[in-house]
């Protein structure tokens, strides 16, 4: 499937790149070929290996195998500094600059201008202003970077990268924090770079952008390159299908443990959201969840799924839109409001936001519950034991006992502990963000059956998953989000995978919501 451009003409040639983290492969046979003076798109789902591939290229990570040629010469760099000197500049996904320091320093550090051995500040300020003027940005470059908004900071990062007279500029999701006008300014700079013979490696999840500015595309999945083609030779639908690892033509049998549902158990409306918006990532999202129903968000990375969930949970501030919970108006100011209203939220990042690895299973399960099972600050240990024992039994948490440290459990069992923590609070609506990510296949099935059982017991579930099978087979209703807008509502299970993919790719769906 991988088309091979003329090898002699390549600017960058990465072949069969391998990289493991703690024994787990992040890259397994990834390849990437970039021509001089082209804009090359690099796309793939979360965990597909794009960021790792970029960090291997720029020397941030050392590769375990494979070869890299840059300008036909073997390319071995040990640090981003060496990569920069060799002609590869990178703008990382999170703006990796220093907010406390001035705009000038953020642009010029690493290639300072000197006069008689000392820094020539006026020349450096002028240089910073000159580079920013290419983006029609005029700001006081002496002020700390942190004083400016995200879009300006992004432009500063780009100004820094192109200031190094690079032959390859890597942009990792450069538009995620830019508005439309800023994006068009960025694109004109990309075209300018291209005209000057500089290649751009462009990572983005916004498909329209790729078609607007890119010449060729490389698609990654599960750490390897699945396809490489000219943008004009590949349709949006094909692109999405390749990213998700789903052959458009084939809809195979059951890939998950979600069985057929008894839909009669689905009750009345529990939660509604109307026209939610909060800046760039969430612009207009409408959906609802019924009691005993599994509702699901489908969408590409950056479609605003997690961001919407955070709004619902009061973790981020809503700008516009209305929500109701159990038919009452609902305006969460903070997560505590959401919990009080009967919501739970299992986050995507178990390690960072969920479990406390050094605490025991019992402590982790009852962490949020402590005020309820304490009297005058003294913990009622009998009640704690009783609750913990019940959840270990009901959810089938495999551990040596309530006092085992959570760190020692497998990913699947850690996820169950996290589920137990929320279930112990008796929620009415449970938000699950990527509930089976990073969990082995057997445990995945268990978690999926558990979610099904919870819904059968009357819990409303909002499930976010990047695995299309999980959404297709698990959800009763699917809300497709695209670039922060809910573009389609489809009946789950009955829905056709092509419709979902089409909605993710184009926005509209050929067969509008079945309802």
């Amino acid at each position: 499937m991988i088309t091979q451009p003329d090898q002699a003409a390549l600017l960058l040639d990465m072949r069969d790149i391998q990289k493991r983290f703690a024994g787990i492969p992040a890259l397994a046979g990834a390849s990437l070929q970039v021509l001089p003076g082209e804009v090359h798109a690099l796309i793939g789902q979360n965990g597909g290996g794009k960021s790792t591939l970029i960090k291997v290229l720029t020397g941030y990570h050392r590769r375990d195998g494979g070869q890299v040629l840059f300008e036909q010469r073997p390319f071995e760099v040990g640090s981003p500094h060496e990569a920069q000197v060799s002609g590869i500049s990178t703008i990382y996904q999170e703006i990796n600059l220093v907010p406390l320091r001035s705009v000038t320093e953020n642009i010029c550090l690493g290639r300072e201008k000197r006069r008689r051995g000392l820094l020539d500040w006026s020349a450096m300020h002028a240089e910073a202003e000159r580079l920013l003027s290419r983006f029609s940005i005029r700001i006081d470059v002496r002020r700390p970077l942190g004083d400016f908004n995200t879009a300006t900071q992004q432009m500063v990062a780009i100004a820094r990268a192109i200031g190094f007279s690079a032959r390859l500029v890597i942009m990792d999701e450069p538009t995620s924090s830019l508005d439309e006008r800023e994006v068009s300014v960025l694109f004109s700079v990309v075209r300018q770079l291209k005209a000057e013979g500089v290649s751009v490696l462009f990572v983005s999840h916004k498909l329209d952008e790729l078609y607007e500015v890119c010449d060729r595309v490389t698609i990654m999945r599960d750490g390897h390159t699945v396809r490489s083609a000219a943008m004009s030779d590949i349709g949006k639908l094909e692109l999405v299908a390749a990213m998700l690892g789903r052959d458009v033509a084939v809809v195979d049998g059951h890939a998950t443990a979600f069985g057929a549902r008894d839909r009669s158990r689905i009750g009345d409306v529990l939660f509604t959201a109307q026209g939610l918006s909060a800046g760039q990532s969430v612009r207009n999202v409408t959906f609802d969840v019924r009691r005993g129903e599994i509702a699901s968000f489908a969408g590409l990375l950056g479609a605003g799924r997690t961001e919407t969930a955070r709004l619902v949970f009061g973790a981020d501030r809503l700008k516009a839109g209305e929500m109701t919970m159990e038919r009452a108006s609902y305006h969460p100011e903070r997560a505590a409001d959401a919990i009080a209203a009967g919501m739970g939220f299992c986050t995507e990042d178990r390690k960072a936001e969920g479990i406390v690895p050094e605490m025991t299973v019992a402590e982790n399960i009852t962490l949020a519950l402590l005020p309820k099972i304490s009297r005058n600050g003294i913990l009622n240990e009998d009640r704690q034991r009783e609750i913990v024992a019940r959840f270990i039994r009901d959810l089938g948490i495999k551990c040596s006992g309530p006092n085992q440290k959570v760190r020692e459990l497998s990913g699947g069992n850690q996820q169950k502990v996290l589920l137990a923590r929320w279930l112990a609070m008796n929620p009415k609506l449970l938000i699950l963000d990527e509930p089976t990510r990073g969990i082995d296949v057997g445990a995945k099935g268990e978690i999926q059956r558990l979610i099904l059982k919870l819904a059968d017991d009357g819990l409303g579930v909002l499930m976010i998953s990047s695995e299309i099978e999980e959404v297709m087979e698990g959800a009763d209703r699917i809300f497709v989000l695209r670039e922060g807008v809910s573009v389609a509502e489809l009946e789950g299970q009955a829905a056709n995978v092509e419709d979902v993919l089409a909605a993710m790719a184009h926005g509209g769906s050929p067969v509008e919501a079945a309802a």
């Binding site: 941030y60 981003p80 500094h81 220093v98 406390l100 550090l109 690493g110 820094l119 942190g146």
Partner: protein
């Protein structure tokens, strides 16, 4: 001028205003406060702390900490006292050399072994303290009065105490390095975001290595001044110096978390704490109240607390200390 900028200016130059206010207070209240003798002895005595605080300032600006400075100064004082019979140069070389060795160890532990600066320099602090006692045979080591070594601590350059001149030169050099070299700007960049700095292609480990070595050398130099000024290498001196140095740096408006700071206001911080101590002594002399050394510690601690709380209040609004200057 917007409010954020104003807050930044108050944060940075507040120490200068406070210093001026304290001097005025002393001048109005005590007869001999601005007398030649008192001014020169304050400068002479505090130059040791100034040298230590300068090194600490650079370390803190990278987001690190150097707890070893006090015992490294003690070690430096012993080493220079032992070498003092061989002349000024030998004495200085021995003291600074001892500091250099300790600084190298810190630098290696932090950049190569990837230890937390807190732990690495704590270990060096204990080791240096032990080495000083071993080297000195558990007692003060008298310096040679014949070799001219005592001039470094006790002599004058024109009318100014030589240690104060040394400290001033060190601060001018430090200020130029911070504001007019890429090394200095990288120090601040690392403190503002080490990972980001590395991804920007800056050589973070090299610069961190340098600041710990510099801090060690400056602490060793402070030890030379200590031995020369008091006529003996003192293995048990230096206790709590690291805290005084951290206090001076923070009072001088440098962010304890790194990324923003200034060399010259650190000097003002050193003087502020030194003059506060001086004023407490005068107050004792007036006889209205009798303050033991312990009480003076308590008062200095409270003073530091107030400054840090003020800083937190000013910075809390923005979550970060607004840098006033990005170089001239």
């Amino acid at each position: 001028m917007n409010s954020a900028r104003l807050i930044g200016i108050v944060g940075t130059y507040g120490v200068v205003v406070a210093l001026a206010a304290l001097v005025l207070f002393g001048f109005l209240r005590y007869e001999r406060f601005l007398g030649f003798f008192n001014v020169m002895s304050v400068l002479r005595y505090n130059s040791m702390f100034a040298l230590v605080a300068l090194g600490m300032c650079f370390v803190i600006m990278t987001g690190g900490i150097d707890l070893s400075v006090g015992s490294v100064a003690a070690l430096g004082s012993v080493a220079s006292a032992l070498a003092s019979p061989h002349g000024i140069a030998a004495g200085v070389a021995a003291g600074v050399g001892a500091g250099l060795a300790a600084g190298l160890i810190n630098a290696l532990l932090v950049t190569r072994a990837n230890l937390m600066p807190f732990i690495a320099t704590l270990a060096t602090m204990l080791a240096a303290s032990g080495s000083a006692l071993l080297l000195a045979g558990n007692q003060s080591v008298s310096v040679s009065y014949d070799s001219g070594f005592t001039a470094i601590g006790q002599g004058n350059f024109w009318i100014f105490p030589i240690p104060a001149v040394i400290a001033l030169v060190a601060y001018v050099v430090g200020s130029v390095v911070l504001n007019y070299t890429s090394t200095g700007r990288t120090v601040l960049a690392i403190g503002g975001g080490e990972d980001a700095s590395r991804l920007m292609g800056l050589r973070t480990d090299r610069i961190k290595f340098l600041v710990y070595v510099a801090s060690g050398c400056l602490a060793g130099l402070a030890g030379v001044v200590l031995a020369s000024q008091f006529g003996a290498g003192q293995p048990i001196e230096g206790v709590g110096w690291e805290l005084s140095a951290i206090a001076a740096v923070v009072v001088g408006g440098t962010l304890l978390t790194g990324g923003s700071g200034s060399v010259m206001t650190t000097l003002a911080g050193v003087l502020l704490l030194g003059i506060l101590f001086n004023i407490l002594n005068f107050e004792n002399g007036l006889g209205w109240i009798s303050l033991s050394a312990y009480w003076q510690s308590v008062i200095r601690g409270l003073f530091l607390l107030v400054v840090v709380l003020l800083q937190a209040r000013l910075t809390g609004r923005r979550g970060s200390w607004p840098a006033t200057t990005s170089g001239p």
